[in-house]
């Protein structure tokens, strides 16, 4: 039994090669994207893990300030420790060498005075040691810096800035801008770069002065004598170092550093993975549709099998075997393609300056298992319904094909509606009720979203005929008979039209949902910034390290400026929960940002030791003006601040605000500003002000001064860019959708061989034939796009409403985006029609009519 089903299945795969290739490519694309994402993430992680353990290979122990809570990956900063600790540790038995180290912000400036960045990677100034074992860099040209005024930089930065050994260079740090001579070029391990970071290496004495640590160091790296007992030495060190400092091993350090990077890799990979699964989901629709159509075309063949004694079960199994074989082959190919995608993505991101290491390709067992789960899983699920249908073909249909299938549209409509309603309820419940927190949100909203799409895909067949009629009307007017045929053919089987359009519907719906959400966000963000800012200028940094205190200091000296303050921040613990506090100069803030301070209070009340709390946080913690607020800083220091005000607008400073003095008193950790805001003297000429500000920031190339309008525009641009990225990631899904329409039409052309032959015989020319197929494709894709825009916009509205009003206030809708999508759908239809219309027009008239 098994022999005959698998024989027929294999033969069917081979002899319907075109269809097999189409289905296989839909499976392949879905699998490849999933595999590519996993391979990329795994390879990056493995590389980073290897990288950090290489760097720290010879560090046995490290001493540093202990964090009271949180970790550095969350942006919690360590205070520096006194230099003397290194000397003390050096004298402990079993310690071979104890090297003080510093790693802080340091920005290389090229000959034109521009900051050199490697695609937004960190720019760091570090110390190094002559001690072979504890040195973390490899000098590949010149030598290690040893005297004051000497520096070594990494090869990638040198190449980017066109600098070499012997050249003078300016470097900006938190303490100012200094002139150095490059004496060496360094790299990491075997490479001449630092994996996307720009590095300057200073002698320790120089670093203590220029890196803004006030003569302190960040850590002590320790190497032990051969044969020393690590546990005993560690205990001895722990006894010798002051409270608030800690000892960790080199392995712990490597793990921590790798984990910090891997957190970003995970977020990045999860984002990609969502799109990979969307792609796979869309392929499932195509596979289902193509199987459903081809089973219709094989009706007589399948009925014949039933007539000569094949059980319904055998027919069903035959379809399953066909699907299984195809999906296995496609999955194996998809894994290969996925590896290529991973390499391609690495190249794309590196071209954008991400600085991903390119070495090594990790294909884990989990990746392979996931590939088969996705490839084989979606295919088998997609053919369940077609296979069941095939099994129900009555044997007598072999002789009377008109008996065919009983179309059970009523059941389909009910099933589709139920699926749609359940999906919508789950989606809304997930967004607004959030049972079980984030996981509940993702599970319910994600699952609900899938059901919505499945439901819409089956229900949309009931509206396909009227919508196609309307869409086809102008086409019929313009293209005459060919246009009329296009419309009639698209309306002929509403079920098939809606099924072919379903994949595109999903892609378009996702783009529409993202666009409603992003546009609403953009408008709200723009409004929020515009209304809360009374300032004229906002200074920002391209680097995620933010702006050094020197930026605000430089602007304070500009006569055209009336008020200026940095907005700094720190992680703290309030009531055992990690929170972010903002800090600024109260007097300046009062003139620059409208915090909407409540109850007649003013920023003048924010003295050293005071705290302002946003109205929402105040009600959460049941705080009122005059209450004490216990705040714990990362260095373990605890302070009781007095709440002296409540404010309404958290756009710029977050939920908690203290003065710069309070923050300075509490922690020595390096503190960069997210923004520096400034207001001009009344009546200052804007051009003159801009010149003055740019001159003041001349030495601080990382600082970018923008007027408030420019700043708001830049924020809006960022949101637009996110929308563009999301749309680009949906390109795979949309490509599969176009492929799907193309396959369906090609199958339809095959089905209508006689009909087309007849039309050609009675005088329709090739051009008209092509035209009829082409505009049918356009009608189908427009239908998908219209349903997609409607469904997607509703989803987008739900998403937007689910976000608190403090982030998104009000809905915004963009008609140009809709117009853009519809034009795109017409183009998609034209692309999809290329192959089927070619096939239709090339048909041999005699053969076509002779076909039985």
């Amino acid at each position: 039994m098994a022999g005959s089903t698998s024989l027929i299945a294999r033969r069917s795969i081979r002899s319907r090669l075109g269809r097999t290739i189409s289905i296989a490519s839909a499976i392949l694309m879905g699998v490849a994207f999933v595999v590519g994402t996993f391979v990329l993430a795994d390879s990056l992680k493995a590389t980073f893990e290897g990288l950090f353990s290489d760097i720290n290979e010879n560090i046995d122990l490290e001493v540093r300030q202990e964090l009271a809570f949180g970790d550095e990956a969350e942006g919690v900063q360590r205070d520096p420790i006194p230099l003397e600790i290194a000397g003390q540790i050096g004298t402990i038995d079993g310690v071979r060498e104890a090297v003080p180290t510093i790693g802080r912000y340091a920005q290389v400036i090229d000959g034109d005075g521009a900051a050199v960045t490697l695609g937004g990677g960190p720019t760091l100034g570090v110390t190094d040691t002559e001690d072979e074992e504890l040195s973390t860099v490899t000098v590949f040209e010149g030598r290690r810096p040893s005297a004051d005024g000497e520096v070594a930089i990494d090869g990638a930065t040198a190449e980017e800035a066109d600098l070499g050994v012997g050249d003078p260079v300016q470097i900006t740090t938190d303490a100012g801008t200094f002139e150095f001579e490059i004496v060496g070029l360094v790299g990491l391990g075997d490479t001449e770069a630092f994996g996307g970071a720009s590095i300057s290496v200073f002698p320790l004495e120089t670093a203590l002065e220029v890196l803004g640590t006030d003569g302190k160091i960040d850590a002590v790296d320790i190497s032990l004598e051969d044969g020393a007992d690590p546990a005993a030495v560690r205990a001895a060190i722990e006894a010798a170092i002051p409270d608030g400092t800690e000892v960790i091993t080199g392995e712990e350090l490597s793990e921590e550093q790798a984990d910090a990077v891997n957190q970003f890799v995970d977020i990045f990979a999860t984002g990609l993975l969502i799109f990979a699964f969307i792609t796979a989901f869309v392929s499932a629709f195509i596979i289902n549709n193509v199987f459903a159509i081809t089973i219709g075309q094989r009706l007589r063949e399948l009925a014949l099998l039933r007539a000569i004694g094949a059980a319904g079960r055998q027919v069903r199994r035959m379809i399953y075997v066909e699907a299984l074989v195809m999906s296995l082959v496609a999955t194996v190919l998809g894994i290969g393609a996925g590896v290529l995608i991973a390499k391609g993505l690495t190249a794309v991101f590196n071209a954008a300056g991400a600085g991903f290491p390119t070495s090594g390709t990790v294909i884990s067992l989990r990746t392979v298992a996931m590939a088969f789960l996705v490839g084989v899983g979606i295919t088998m699920l997609s053919v369940v319904v077609p296979a069941r249908r095939a099994a129900k073909i009555p044997p007598v249909a072999a002789m009377r094909p008109e008996l065919g299938f009983d179309t059970i549209n009523a059941r389909r409509l009910v099933g589709g509606t139920v699926t749609l309603v359940v999906g919508a309820l789950m989606f809304v419940a997930g967004l607004f009720l959030r049972p079980g927190g984030t996981i509940g949100l993702i599970a319910l909203a994600g699952g609900g979203g899938l059901l919505i799409f499945i439901g819409v895909a089956s229900v949309s067949s009931t509206i396909a005929r009227p919508v196609v009629g309307v869409l086809g009307w102008p086409i019929r007017k313009v293209f005459g008979t060919a246009g009329r045929l296009a419309r009639d053919n698209a309306a002929r089987s509403p079920r098939r039209t809606s099924a072919s359009a379903a994949a595109l519907m999903i892609g378009v719906a996702l783009v529409s949902a993202a666009s409603v959400f992003a546009i609403s966000l953009r408008v709200s963000v723009g409004n929020a910034f515009s209304t809360s800012l009374d300032a004229d200028y906002v200074v920002t940094s391209d680097s995620f390290q933010g702006l050094p205190p020197s930026v605000a200091a430089a602007l304070r000296d500009v006569p055209e400026i009336a008020a200026v303050t940095p907005i700094q921040g720190s992680a703290v613990e309030i009531d055992g929960e990690q929170k972010a506090i903002g800090a600024g100069d109260p007097e300046a803030l009062d003139q620059l940002i409208d915090l909407e301070v409540r109850d007649g209070g003013s920023l003048a009340d924010l003295g050293e030791g005071d705290i302002f709390v946003h109205v929402d946080a105040a009600s959460d913690f049941e705080l009122a003006v005059g209450d004490p607020v216990d705040v714990r800083f990362p260095n373990g220091g605890e302070r009781t601040l007095t709440m002296t005000g409540v404010f309404d607008d958290a756009t710029f400073v977050g939920n908690y605000l203290v003065s710069l003095d309070t923050l300075d008193e509490s922690s020595d950790a390096p503190r960069a500003a997210f923004f520096v805001v400034a207001k001009l003297q009344p009546g200052t000429d804007p051009a003159q002000a801009r010149t003055a500000i740019n001159e003041a920031l001349d030495d601080l190339p990382q600082a970018k001064a923008q007027t408030v309008e420019e700043f708001v525009g830049a924020q809006e641009d960022q949101i637009n860019q996110i929308l563009v990225v999301i749309s680009s990631l949906l390109v795979f899904a949309i490509a599969i959708a176009v492929l799907g329409i193309s396959i369906t039409l090609a199958l339809a052309v095959f089905e209508r061989t006689r009909e087309i032959g007849l039309l050609r015989a009675v005088g329709m020319n090739k051009r008209q034939t092509r035209r009829a197929v082409r505009w049918e494709a356009v009608i189908v894709s427009l239908f998908g796009a219209i349903v997609g825009v409607v469904v997607g916009s509703l989803i987008g509205v739900a998403l937007t409403l689910a976000v608190p009003d403090s982030v998104i206030e009000g809905l915004s809708f963009s008609w140009p985006t809709v117009a853009f999508i519809l034009v795109g759908a017409v183009i998609a239809g034209l692309v999809a029609s290329l192959y089927p219309s070619f096939k239709a027009s090339r048909m041999d008239v005699c053969d076509a009519i002779a076909t039985r």
Binding site: M1, G3, I8
Partner: protein
């Protein structure tokens, strides 16, 4: 010649390979009701070749489909061997078709993706057996397909395709073979070959065949001809010749 003929053998007797008792098949209801079969009682003797003739719409194809278990009756009963089909579920019906019934259709007889040899042994493969190898070989030689076994249906002429279909029907040694206008799509020479093979199978190997046809020449190969009109059997002729059948049809026409 308008009396209802007597049944030569009674239902369920050992000599009958298949038959129907008061078979009624109605399509539609009310004014639109069509009685495709209007109380047919007939039996087909084992080892005999029976032709069923009648004008279009007389119900001959419906009778064949119901006898073969492809379609079900509105009332009455059909049996194959000692099995009443109404008592069978789909699984048992499938099993019956595979083992006890062979089919030869007018057109589109073969699975296009399988070779001639695979098409011939398909019913056995579906049952998970190889069948009787020697017999299958003999059948292949009889129909003269030895050198065409590896060919796909699309590479064979219409006559060759129908020979494959005959071979497939014979290969599993079914209780009865039903043929629905087997020569309808063939030229007269290929048609004669097919009819000869079928007659030989009955004469030499005791196969039972029931064939629906329009063609008096084809009917002449049979041992017995049944005439159907308006869903009823109206006449019967034993040992027909082409001329006698034609004569009969002319008489009915008058």
């Amino acid at each position: 010649m308008s009396t209802i003929p007597t049944i030569s053998t009674s239902p369920g007797s050992e000599l009958a390979a298949a038959g129907a008792v008061d078979a009624v098949k109605r399509y539609g209801s009310g004014d639109a009701e069509v009685r495709a079969l209007d109380g047919v009682t007939v039996s087909f003797e084992s080892g005999k070749y029976t032709a069923i003739m009648g004008p279009s719409g007389s119900g001959k194809s419906t009778l064949l489909h119901c006898l073969a278990g492809l379609d079900d009756l509105t009332s009455g009963a059909v049996y194959i061997g000692d099995t009443y089909l109404a008592k069978l579920n789909d699984k048992q019906l499938t099993e019956l078709r595979r083992t006890k019934v062979g089919f030869i259709f007018q057109a589109y007889n073969l699975i296009p993706t399988l070779t001639a040899a695979e098409n011939i042994s398909l019913p056995m493969m579906l049952g998970g057996t190889d069948g009787d190898k020697a017999w299958v070989d003999e059948v292949i030689d009889t129909v003269g397909l030895r050198d065409r076994l590896k060919h796909r249906p699309s590479e064979l002429s219409g006559g060759q395709q129908q020979r494959v279909a005959v071979a497939r029907a014979l290969a599993s040694q079914p209780t009865i073979i039903f043929a629905d206008e087997p020569t309808g799509n063939l030229d007269s020479r290929s048609g004669a070959e097919i009819l000869q093979f079928m007659q030989d199978a009955v004469r030499r190997h005791g196969q039972t065949i029931v064939m629906v046809t329009h063609d008096p020449v084809a009917a002449a190969y049979a041992d017995r001809v049944l005439f159907l009109n308006d869903g009823r059997i109206v006449d019967e002729m034993l040992d027909p010749t082409a001329d006698s059948v034609l004569e009969h049809l002319k008489n009915v026409g008058e």
